[in-house]
Amino acid sequence: MTWLSIIISGIVTYFSRMAMVALIDREMLGTKVKEVLNYVPAAVFPAIIFPGVFFNDFGSFVEISDPKIYGAIVALVVGFYSRSVIATIVSGLLSYWFIIFFLLR
């Protein structure tokens, strides 16, 4: 079942890459659609970020003092100023680990 899902996801992904190159006339994609497609990353990724930070493994809201919230704030600030992918991830993880291993023990 998992294999089948991977293969179908692979086909869907490949189709998204190939459709405009090989199948569909690019004029079919109107200016408005193109403008909206620009926002796909902004529309998709927060739907993973927010629950990942604000919910625990059981799907209920974490407390305001949760280490994940502080880790995310550090990553957000570092990311905003550095614009670096690595700095964002590493600063978030390190501050999260610092809290769970040193402050909460």
Binding site: I6, T13, R17, Y39, A43, G71, I86, T88, Y96
Partner: protein, 228 residues
């Protein structure tokens, strides 16, 4: 006139700076797949068959969290709809290729390769073989992606659970959109999507992952309308 191999090489060099983000992202993708409990072969298969970091992570996260295959596949489709944009832009440069070549080169269209190719081809309008440049960027990114996810898969089996590596998932996606944080219109769409996901989180079959982006894209559409 540049030879084909020179154009290919230029493509390779153009994406090298991106390795700073591609390699860690690949390692995290592999390691998270293991952390979520998937078989190493399955994790690697996503790199080969899906070949898209964000899609792979979301796909594995959803399936391990008990979402139905349909939701996982649909969300992969939503994430990848941005490729339509890349294809539409690149199709102009790839027009002269045979249908088979178009089918082959499509597999290698990825974010960073698209960004560099589009930049270079726009600056060198009379390039005779623009597709070779696209291929140079894509093949390089492909190799690095395969190698880095394999490293992540190996590394993942040594990472203790106490580290809570799952938290790397939201951080990784935050890192992807960090460049757009200075654009107010993008930040608005992000906030709509984020709050929608918190409200819709309990919707059946984990459908929040599809509904929230749709709500946010509708908001983006309305915003564009009002701007004019």
């Amino acid at each position: 006139m540049l030879s084909k191999s020179k154009i290919f090489f230029k493509g390779i060099v153009a994406v090298l700076p991106h390795m700073l983000s591609v390699i860690p992202f690949g390692i995290i993708t592999g390691a998270i797949g293991i952390e979520l409990g998937f078989d190493p072969i399955l994790v690697y298969a996503t790199s080969l068959i899906i070949f898209g970091g964000a899609s792979q992570i979301i796909f594995m996260q959803l399936l391990s969290g008990g979402a139905s295959s349909l939701v996982a596949i649909t969300s992969v489709g939503v994430i990848n709809s941005r490729h339509l944009l890349y294809g539409a832009v690149l199709s102009e440069y790839l027009e002269k290729l045979s249908f088979i070549k178009k089918l082959l080169i499509s597999y290698f269209i990825v974010d960073q390769g698209f960004a560099e190719s589009n930049k270079y081809i726009k600056q060198n309008k009379n390039l005779s073989n623009p597709h070779i440049y696209v291929l140079g960027t894509g093949v390089t990114l492909w190799f690095c992606w395969q190698l880095s996810t394999i490293s992540g898969i190996i590394l993942g089996s040594f990472i203790p659970d106490e580290l809570g590596l799952k938290f790397a998932i939201p951080l990784t996606f935050l890192a992807i959109i960090v460049n757009d944080l200075r654009k107010l219109d993008h930040v608005f769409v992000m906030l709509v999507s984020g709050f929608a996901s918190l409200i819709l989180f309990d919707a059946p079959f984990k459908s929040y992952i599809i509904l929230s982006p749709i709500v946010a894209l509708i908001a983006a559409f309305i915003m564009l309308r009002l701007k004019k």
